[in-house]
Symmetry: C2
Subunit: 241 residues, 2 copies
């Protein structure tokens, strides 16, 4: 099932931008009268009929609206330190989208190898992954912030289940991720995943002070992107399996 994306919905009509129109009309050769499916990136699937097969600005009439298409029953924010190798971070982002996630926050930690991160490419990957995995909502990518600022901003929200995945075996009592997650339906969850060098003691202390629960993800020594996918899997599998 091919999906198109648009943010331009006006009454009963939807307009595709130049990229989407080109793909629709020139590559896939859709013509007036063809049925196409369009997501708005906010969760809704629109079944439409093509009314103007313009290769730069195609238009279609909406015939059916399905909200919460492919949605998951929780809100998950993954605050993950960007990896030195960007491919790895992009793999995590793609897999997290297939499974179900709402926001990715690139966080820069004291031990981060990568201190600079550009979000544009990640946004394109998330859109592509949302279309491929048939989800009406495309996860957001926040602008990078420091781990400390993420802890302070999220820490003020009491309604969010906040987890920090860290090592510090023996020093910091850690719960298993499943126990810390508890009941998931309707919940908002935020998970912090550190760089290869782990969080600093000060970052963990601040997180604990602000209500983050230190958790472990089992005994395996996981790369940053693998730990991040493992946390997303823990939420997904707990909710659905």
């Amino acid at each position: 099932m091919e999906l198109f994306f648009s943010r331009q919905f006006d009454g009963d009509f939807c307009t595709l931008d130049a990229d989407e129109s080109g793909h629709c009309v020139k590559v896939l050769r859709h013509r007036e009268g063809d049925e196409i499916s369009v997501i708005d990136g906010e969760g809704t699937l629109y079944t439409c009929v093509l009314t103007d097969a313009s290769p730069k600005s195609a238009q279609a009439r909406v015939v059916k609206v399905e909200p919460d298409w492919g949605a998951h029953p929780y809100r998950l924010t993954m605050a993950v330190c960007p990896t030195k190798n960007l491919d790895r971070y992009e793999w995590f982002a793609e897999k997290a989208t297939e499974l179900g996630i709402d926001t990715i926050v690139p966080v820069i930690g004291e031990h981060s190898e990568r201190k600079v991160f550009k979000t544009e490419r990640l946004r394109r990957i998330l859109l592509s992954a949302s279309k491929q995995s048939l989800k009406g909502a495309v996860p957001e990518v926040a602008e990078p912030v420091s781990v400390k600022d993420f802890i302070l901003e999220t820490g003020s929200r009491e309604d969010v289940t906040k987890l920090i995945c860290c090592c510090f075996e023996g020093e910091v009592p850690r719960t298993s991720v499943f126990e810390a997650l508890g009941e998931l339906a309707g919940r908002e969850i935020a998970v912090l995943i550190g760089p290869e060098g782990d969080f600093s003691r000060e970052e963990v202390a601040l997180a604990v002070e602000k209500g983050f629960v230190p958790v472990h993800l089992g005994p395996s020594r996981l790369r940053t992107e693998t730990a991040a996918v493992t946390a997303v899997e823990a939420v997904y599998l707990k909710a659905f399996c």
Copy 2:
């Protein structure tokens, strides 16, 4: 922690091959007297002292032996259809190794896009992932077989918990992967993951006849490699979290 790999253990001595010796002596500049850690790929970690810093055939004396290093308490075989894009299959193999797996079997299904698969590159990736994630055992890669042959060979083993992940919603009653896994300690598990076009009805019918339990991995539409990692994660998280 850097790890070396060797299959040449003779009494108290261990010899590194040309690649490993080059890395040890020329790249990392180890000298006689240095302590190095060597895995044998079968599960044991040997702490050794370098006795001959030869750049093509380094030798070291074993001073400590730790069996089952980084081991997991179950045996997991993942029979996964090779993806059209090999990067994706390699990504799955690397992540599965970090988490804990014993064998990868590339299986060719009726709907497989990729019918040919060379195992050599995958073996190098598994060795590298095992060293990076500090595991004494390197997973095996079997030679490719058809899905049907894998079902027939594995089906004859009653002591193995056999799962087949498929869609066929409504047609085939499916259990959640967690329920189907049951108790994990000391168990042998085999999981079949199909191609993007799913297994054929005949393949699923044969699997069910041979004792495979049809399972679902939640509602998300997952790529082959994502489904494979999700199954590995289900086993890992169930065992440890």
